[in-house]
């Protein structure tokens, strides 16, 4: 029996290919304006948001190395995205990887016709310029790669970090993004037969019906697993568990976390691709789940660790943001509240109990927050997307109404499948990439450089003058 009877309103789509002549699609200027704002917000999440969030958590001698890694990885990935990444992720190919139609962003501007191509949204005939879609998706690829560096901060060789992200972006990120998010858009769907055609052309996990509104699998699980593999392969920092590795500036971490929160409205509400009801739903969910996780993490610390900490509140906010990401436009606000409350407590366990079990020196807890929060969010999305629990269910583009059947159990299995595929894909590709880099240039800096700090030894500068 075919599982796909309805096309699922997942986030993201890529399209620029010729659209059927029957519709009269046109650029919606309101939606387009929102996508510009959203894209800028996601840029701000990375530089300086993520950079400061991570930077404050390392020792003062490694501050600049973290800022530098985040900024350089972001910039490098944006370049690769425009050269070949976008094409491989968001053009038709097979179920696992796209094609070369948009290599070098070719064809988005057609000089012969004197016209720009458009990208589909989730509403028939509502279009946005493909260039802003390229930019928006590029920031997602870049933040995913930048998130990874937190797992092996304070000891990785700078050139190794850059070479790793080039390889992993290509064999790890692009296929997962294509599998989860690529489809041709809703415009060609008129009946069951056309739905089947569109679905058959989509990415593998999209075809399965996986729900990932803004990147629980593609961004968070993907980066967290790659980071965890990196922490194992690179090894622990010198003195780990014996010397103090306390964060050097929690105020900067708080500033960074706050910028992530603000920027995440672009990330989640922007993933609606339109400035309408679903974006508004994603917006309130992003506000509420994050606040709930901040409260629950801090309360959890208060109860279990005696004192509620600033770092705990900041970590809770990020955990909540991660957890609501896959469900932002699917679940109702009370579903988001539960997801946030659970994320705060479970990710607190992720950076304490689970971290001890894993025995890896994941320096900035990329797996504990993004991995655990991402898996939790991806699974709970399958639960709280149910209309019976206040969720959106799935949209049926053949009837242009909400689908009538939603089974929590079967959706949960689909979500589990998507999580499993992402974990395995990311782990295998990351392992290959790390091993390759280790053979070619070596993953770690020499011991004396690690002790002196990467700011001076890798970059020839110091963050602070006393």
């Amino acid at each position: 029996m075919k599982r796909i009877t309805t096309t699922i309103l997942t986030a993201m789509l890529g399209l620029g290919v010729a659209l059927p002549a029957m519709a009269a699609p046109s650029i919606n200027k309101g939606d387009t304006a929102w996508m510009f704002v959203s894209t800028l917000l996601v840029v701000m999440m990375v530089v300086p948001g993520l950079a400061l969030f991570y930077g404050g958590l390392v020792r003062a001698k490694n501050m600049l190395s973290v800022l530098m890694q985040v900024m350089m990885v972001f910039s490098l990935i944006i370049v690769l995205w425009c050269l070949y990444g976008y094409s491989l992720a968001f053009t038709p190919g097979n179920a696992f990887i796209g094609g070369f139609d948009r290599l070098f962003l070719n064809g988005i501007w057609d000089p012969a016709k004197g016209a720009f191509s458009m990208a589909a949204t989730f509403t028939k005939e509502a279009m946005i310029p493909e260039f802003i879609f390229v930019a928006f998706q590029g920031t997602f690829a870049a933040i995913t790669c930048a998130l990874i560096v937190g797992a092996f901060a304070e000891r990785a060789r700078f050139s190794a970090v850059l070479l790793f992200v080039v390889i992993w972006f290509t064999i790890g990120y692009l296929p997962v993004a294509h599998m989860v998010w690529f489809w041709a858009g809703p415009d060609a769907i008129t009946d069951a037969a056309s739905l089947e055609v569109v679905t058959a052309g989509a990415g593998y996990l999209w075809q399965q019906g996986a729900l990932d509104f803004a990147g629980g699998t593609v961004v968070h699980i993907n980066s967290a697993v790659a980071g965890l593999v990196g922490a194992y392969v690179i090894g622990k920092r010198i003195g780990y568990g014996r010397e103090s590795m306390a964060p050097h500036s929690l105020p900067l971490t708080m500033v960074g976390a706050s910028m992530l929160w603000v920027g995440w409205f672009g990330f989640n509400a922007g993933s609606a691709l339109e400035a309408g009801d679903v974006a508004a739903l994603a917006f309130i969910n992003t506000l509420l789940a994050t606040a709930a996780a901040t409260v629950s993490w801090a309360l959890g610390e208060w109860v279990f660790k005696r004192k509620p900490s600033m770092l705990g509140a900041a970590s809770g906010a990020v955990a909540g943001l991660v957890a609501i990401t896959p469900g932002a436009g699917f679940v109702g606000p009370m579903g988001a509240l539960v997801m946030g409350l659970l994320a705060g407590i479970i990710c607190l366990w992720g950076v304490t109990g689970l971290k001890r079990l894993l025995r890896a020196d994941d320096s900035l807890d990329v797996f504990g927050v993004h991995g655990v929060g991402g898996i939790l969010g991806a699974l709970l999305t399958g639960v709280f997307a149910a209309p019976s629990l206040g969720g959106q269910g799935v949209w049926d583009y053949t009837t242009n109404a909400m689908g009538t059947s939603y089974s929590i159990a079967s959706q949960l299995m689909v979500q589990l499948h998507a999580v499993g595929v992402t974990i395995i894909w990311s782990a295998v590709t990351a392992f290959i990439a790390f091993k390759l880099v280790d053979i070619v240039i070596g993953l770690r800096v020499p011991e004396d450089e690690e002790r002196e700090g990467l700011d001076v030894t890798s970059h020839g500068e110091s963050a602070y003058r006393y």
Binding site: S244, M245, A246, P247, K305, K307, S309, L311, G312, S315, V351, T352, G353, K355, R356, D365, G368
Partner: protein
């Protein structure tokens, strides 16, 4: 002459300075230092990682004084710096062989 070295809690510095001015101590040198005695340190918890911070911030005051006022100085510091709680600090008294004022070349008590 004696060299008085007092280790005190940082927030007690102003009170100690005023108390010493009242009994005409003419000068002192103050340094921010870290250390521990019976108070020991404290623990800090960052996510799962717990660190013991051994060295707590303290203020070190150094003052060179005439033998005649040593007891007065000790009383002044002790009463100003005292909170009664562990960690109030210590006063060390040591003999001072010579003092020279660099500008004038005066020595001994004249240089204090």
């Amino acid at each position: 002459m004696k060299m008085i070295t007092a280790i005190i809690k940082p927030f007690k510095l102003d009170e100690v300075r005023e108390a010493l001015s009242e009994i005409n101590v003419q000068g002192m040198t103050v340094t921010e230092v870290k250390g521990f005695g019976r108070q020991k340190g404290h623990t800090e918890l960052y996510r799962g990682a717990e660190y013991v911070v051994d060295f707590l911030p303290k203020i070190k005051i150094e003052a060179a004084v005439d033998d005649a006022v040593v007891d007065q100085v000790i009383d002044a510091i002790q009463s100003a710096a005292r909170t009664g709680k562990i960690g109030d600090g210590k006063i060390f008294v040591a003999d001072l062989n010579q003092v020279i004022r660099i500008r004038t070349g005066e020595t001994g008590n004249d240089a204090l």
